[in-house]
Amino acid sequence: MTDLIHRLRPKPQHVPLVATAAVFILLYAVACIRYEGFASWFQATSLIADNAPLGLAAIGMTFVILSGGIDLSVGAVIALSSIFLASCLVPPDQGGAGMHAGVAIPLTLVGGTAFGAVMGAVIRVFKLPPFLVTLAGMFLVRGLALVLTEQKRISIIGVESFDPLVDFLVFDFNLPAIVFIFATLLAVAVAKYTRFGRTTYAIGGNEDSANLMGLPVGSTTVKIYALSSLCAAAGGVLHAIGSQSGDASVGYLLELDAIAAVVIGGTLLTGGYGYVIGTFLGLLILAVITVIPTYEGDLNAWWTRIVIGVLLLAFILLQRVAQPRKT
């Protein structure tokens, strides 16, 4: 019995992750007890589906933050890729390119990846802080999204190759929800079982050491930002599927929510430590907090921001306490 307890006790490096899971379970349980209809399969699937674009961005952001960087452009990339995809899909008579979804979606993803790779290369080659480079990227991409189309929003209705993606549903999971779940599993494996994933941790842990240990720091940095933008572009595609539209103004400040999900998920903002599954849980926590006002009726929705702020602070403090770092 004591042996079992001993084995069940989390290793020190897993404490933040366990804390995240505990907060989520607690929050979800309280919501289920307090709000009628919360404990439904439909509510559970829509928590995931509604947050799929943010979730994908947060997964990409996890790798960036693990490497000690930051990517402020993800919200803008979601917006640009959704509106780019929409204008590719919409028939020419409505001002679009009339492309097949099988062409337009890969094109969007490749474009996003390339953009991220360029940001990563700029960060690496010119030794610039990721904060500034991705801030510039954010303005650039957001501006492009607004300039590319006169309309801010393009509906994607009646596009034959696209509709099956919109209508796809398995056990109440729509395509965005399924993609998000699979992307999470894939990212968990990438982080744990590939050299790219381990090098990401090493760079965040100590970049100089990673260099001296002969790890491919340069190419990995480029790949990390490429991956983050790929995830954000995929988030844009999911947004287009979920809302049947492209929207140049979607995702304002979404990068901050993504960062919050990563940090609440237990990843150190300074890099080198964290888990992808933590980000998934962190995102679910944000998702539950965000829907609570709709159940609470007269509760001001901005309270969710306050709660997220408090949670963030609590997790940063927990990291301090659980991971005493040598000075």
Binding site: Q13, Y193, R195, Y201, A202, L215, Y273
Partner: protein, 511 residues
């Protein structure tokens, strides 16, 4: 037990390395045999670290030949050198602290199955690699949960994993305690007996004598010689490192310094001052009108002592008294309030603010003591600056020139001016003459004598032992971070300082 020798594993011949304005290595030879620990010795600027960097591929060499197993090699990066079999472990451990020991040992060359990392094998291999060093530790814990010494072992295990022939240990013991050093040494013996050639860089004479089979001494970028450690008396090693022949030194003229007349009070007194990884057991006392010299080799604890007195570092044990009062809060502000001044060793990093003008640099400390609210009026600042520019003979067109544009000697004088403006009771000078020209050196030595005769207490640190001997009334000798002797008056001679550095005061007295 004499070990089987030992063939020439690495041979460096006539290595030249120049940097703009400096010939860091000038035709240096170095030979490392398989199965030996070879110490590389030298004072500041001797070229040790440059030679190590040439050997390990950090710098390309500008001239000379380098062979490994009689094959000419040209490592271009540390990684390149590692592939050739030359592994390096630096003073700061280069590992990823958050990752496990096993992963640190394998990262970058993890065993994979179907393209995915095989964690079972990573763990097993990690255990095997530590076992090669005779160490059994839980390889699934993060590296940061182990002591620096063990982290170093992990770094060594990683470094020698890939069929390393040569292991370079660059000051590996500077942050280890005695027990940890022993642990490291036994690992070194083990690897040596496995046939590795080990290059050991250390400031600690005792350690060098304890572990090395042979040693090579460099000075000012040139080879002084290669010796069997056991056949080289310590005094000779010290004289070779500082470039003074023992007999020649003894014959040298010296003017004994009488303790100046007048009964000055004790300004600063330290009793059994110790700080982990800095110094231990320092007892000193300095009076007004007296120059106390701190002598010792690089890394002997000279600067560390001054840092403790100035409150930059807090002592673990021991007490400091200033003007008869025990110091309880250790920080530079308190020291400045007690009118202690300190010009640090590295004036670029810790002394001058290069973009500020001569005037601003000079008034800095005085302003700091007054507090920022009571701004020194501009005309007073100007008067102060002009006064010290004149008094110290600072070569600058005017007080508004940025200090960064002055020569080294003049920068040093600006720092001196800054502290003199405070009218300190105790002035501590750490290497005030390093890297400045002969004329400026003489001026600074002259100034020390003048300040002293005005009743100021001075603490003088220099790696030029003759300067210490020439300018001090009393000298405290440090070795391997311990106080090993004290000399005063006529006993202050270069040869006496050297023999204390080599073997301690009692041994020197009996010699």
């Amino acid at each position: 037990m004499p070990r089987v020798a030992e063939y020439e594993l690495v041979e460096l011949r006539g290595i030249v390395k120049t940097f703009p304005g400096v010939r860091a290595l000038d035709g240096v030879d170095f030979t490392l045999r398989a199965g030996e620990v070879h110490a590389l010795m030298g004072e500041n600027g001797a070229g040790k670290s440059t030679l190590i960097k040439v050997l390990t591929g950090v710098y390309p060499r500008d001239g000379g030949t380098m062979t490994l197993d009689a094959t000419e090699i040209h490592p271009r990066t540390p990684l390149d050198a590692q592939r050739l079999g030359i592994a390096t472990v630096y003073q700061e451990v280069n590992l990823i602290p958050e990752l496990t020991v096993a992963e640190n040992l394998s990262i970058g060359r993890e065993p994979r199955r179907l393209g995915l990392i095989d964690w079972g094998t990573v763990k097993r291999r990690g255990k095997e690699m530590m076992a090669r060093l005779d160490l059994d530790l839980d390889v699934t814990l993060p590296v940061r949960s182990y002591s620096i010494a063990l982290q170093q072992m992990v770094a060594i295990a990683r470094a020698i994993d890939q069929e390393a022939r040569v292991l370079v240990l660059d000051e590996p013991t500077s942050s280890l305690d005695a027990a940890e050093c022993d642990q490291l040494f036994s690992v070194m013996y083990r690897l040596r007996d496995q046939g590795l050639g080990i290059v050991f860089v250390s400031h600690f004479l005792d350690q060098v004598y304890a572990v090395s089979d042979r040693l090579t001494v460099l000075r000012n970028g040139r080879l002084v010689g290669e010796f069997e450690t056991s056949k080289l008396p310590r005094l000779e090693l010290v004289s070779k490192m500082i470039g003074k022949d023992a007999e020649q030194v003894e014959a040298m003229d010296h003017a004994p310094k009488a303790r100046p007349a007048g009964d000055h009070p004790v300004v600063a007194k330290a009793t059994a001052l110790s700080r982990r990884h800095a110094v231990s057991g320092v007892d000193l006392e300095v009076r007004g009108g007296e120059v106390l010299g701190l002598a010792g080799l690089l890394g002997s604890g000279r600067s560390e002592t001054a840092r403790l007195l100035f409150g930059i570092d807090t002592p673990d044990t021991g007490t400091i008294e200033i003007n008869g009062q025990a110091v309880t809060t250790h920080n530079p502000r308190t020291a400045i309030r007690n009118r202690i001044a300190f010009t640090p060793e590295d004036r670029k990093d810790a002394g001058i603010i290069p973009d500020l003008s001569v005037r601003e640099n000079i008034v800095l400390a005085l302003q700091g003591r007054r507090g920022w609210l009571r701004r020194i009026p501009f005309h007073e600042q100007q008067a102060l600056a002009d006064q010290y520019i004149k008094a110290l003979n600072i070569a600058t067109p005017d007080a508004d020139k940025p200090v960064g544009q002055l020569s080294g000697g003049n920068q040093q004088k600006v720092i001196l001016g800054r502290w003199l403006a405070m009218q300190p009771r105790l002035l501590m000078l750490d290497e005030p003459t390093r890297g400045i020209d002969v004329g400026a050196k003489a001026e600074i030595e002259q100034l020390i004598a003048e300040l002293c005769s005005e009743g100021m207490a001075l603490l003088f640190i220099s790696s030029e032992l003759e300067e210490v001997a020439r300018d001090s009334h009393r000298v405290i000798v440090l070795r391997d971070r311990k106080q090993v002797g004290e000399l005063s008056g006529e006993d202050i001679r270069l040869d006496s300082i050297m023999s204390i550095i080599a073997s301690g005061q009692e041994a020197a007295a009996h010699a």
